[in-house]
Symmetry: C2
Subunit: 121 residues, 2 copies
């Protein structure tokens, strides 16, 4: 096993593209992914799993069909499985996403924003 | 579903005891737990699961039988399942622990530090 800590700031410094998750760690069959986001994502849901968002820098809005939540740095939110949601960030925002390995960022929605999966940094 | 963000700082302000995890969120069958730690914990392991530590404030040392890792604020570490470890914090440290629901903080080790499980704030 490695005995190196995983430093969020150093990992975020390694990439600049938006909506393209980078895996930094695995716990059992779950992955920890860093994402830089800006602008509007697509409406989608994950039918088989909850999804955790933690804001590391900036502000993230998550829109739901009937409501929305605004997350600031140091805040987290659990999107329940099957719930349609659309992340939106007016300015660039850095987030940590936690979900089972294999989950596609756009869920079942077809989109140009569908990212390659399992890209480690 | 709730549409309230979970704010780490506000949650940490709700308790002051050490080595006593407070659950703040669930994702599928996993829990997110805040813990204030100070001093030496006990040697233990979790035979059935990895365990994630994220340092939110302060510094945490995790000792292993053959090595150790020092985590600062903004760093995380995954302790693999079955690996003996002992968290140590010289000064109070605030951490986020992520692991499956039902995991006991001291694993199979009997200790005065064994905490009540599933205490929400």
């Amino acid at each position: 096993m490695s005995h190196k800590p995983i430093n969020f700031e150093k990992k975020f410094a390694k990439f600049n593209d938006h909506w393209s998750p980078r895996v930094i760690a695995e716990m059992n069959d779950y992955q920890f992914k860093l994402v830089k986001v800006k602008g509007e994502f697509v409406w989608h849901n994950h039918p088989d799993t909850d999804e955790v968002f933690i804001v590391m820098e900036g502000s993230l809005e998550i829109e739901f069909k009937d409501n929305k939540v605004m997350l600031e740095k140091g805040e987290m939110f659990v999107v329940p499985k099957g719930v349609e949601h659309k992340p939106v960030a007016n300015k660039e925002c850095q987030i940590l996403v936690i979900e089972p390995k294999g989950v596609v960022n756009t869920g079942g929605a077809k989109s140009d924003l569908t990212a390659h999966n399992d890209v480690w940094i």
